[in-house]
Amino acid sequence: MKDTNQTYDQILNDLRKVQPIPSHPAELTRQIMGKINVLPQRKKAKNSKLKLLRTWAQIAAILVVGILVYEMIKPHKKLNFSSIPFPEAESTQYTEAHSFPVKEKIKQYIIWQEIQTEKKKYRKELISVFQTSNPKSLMP
């Protein structure tokens, strides 16, 4: 076992000492650089301002979604309907202030008609006076 371990270490030491070298190092470098020169240009790093804008947009989107979710799940305040008095008595009660008497209305209508007839009479008289004083003015 000791011999095996010693041989193992000896072989490893021998192998470590050897550093392999490409048979044609200059040619290998030339080939690598030839391939690199043919490659298309690397994509440039994205604009940092654009990145910042994107980050803020993401934060805003997360906030909006958060608010929406909160609005959906938040507990609503329950209304106690029994505490509000129902205005039943007020609406059904007849009062003098809200009344609209029919007799008064009829009286007003009759007065209005009389005034209208008076106005018509006055207008006819006025036209007849105007025609007698200046008859040519009405001729075409």
């Binding site: 048979s23 690598i32 650089m33 391939k35 690199i36 490659l39």
Partner: protein, 186 residues
């Protein structure tokens, strides 16, 4: 490592502004380490070179995502380990799908003495590692390579593999147990 951390950070900053020259310096600095890890994991030099290319292309493409709090080498190791782990998983159950090493490598370029030496060193290393680890699961091989061969710290291995400490230790235990058995049989 030849460059200090300040110099590396400066080159990374320049590379971020689409400067391939600066990135080229980073490639030169780290390609041997990336290739080394890829070779130790795949035990296949052609695949290791392909993975090395892919690692640097990915590093260039994803450089804006690099975290400066982590070492650049750790980040490169992470990409390498991921690519190699996928490769190991793909070929673990289907070893027949592993492509043969290209012999054209030597013909395509004029081989210098240095190139030949590198190839021989790599070949020898690959043979030794394959002999020891060929039956390990991809996870065990990855942990064994990072811990025992690369000598990395447990925290760095955690970053590279993304595994928990318990998983790392259990995989390492099983890997060491299997390798000791292999050694005793040799």
């Amino acid at each position: 490592m030849h460059m200090d951390q300040q110099e590396i950070q400066r080159l990374i900053q320049q590379s971020l502004y689409e400067d391939p020259q600066a990135f080229g310096q980073l490639v030169v600095e780290y390609q041997s380490f990336v290739f080394g890890l890829a070779l130790k994991l795949t035990c296949h030099s052609d695949e290791a070179e392909d993975i090395t290319q892919e690692v640097f292309i990915r590093a260039w493409t994803h450089l804006p995502q690099f975290n400066p709090q982590v070492k650049f080498s750790t980040w490169l190791y992470k990409i390498t380990a991921n690519l190699c782990f996928d490769w190991l998983r793909k070929h673990h159950n289907h070893p027949e799908m592993i492509p043969a090493e290209k012999e054209g490598n030597v013909v395509e370029y004029i081989p210098t003495e240095e190139n030949i030496t590198n190839q021989l060193i790599n070949q020898e290393l690959v043979e030794k590692i394959t002999q020891l680890t060929q039956e390990l699961t991809p996870k065990q091989k990855l942990i064994f390579t990072l811990w025992d061969l690369e000598g990395m710290e447990p925290e760095e291995i955690k970053i590279i593999t993304g595994m928990s400490s318990v998983k790392i230790k259990s995989n390492l235990y099983l890997a060491r147990k299997y390798i000791r058995q292999r050694i005793s049989k040799l």
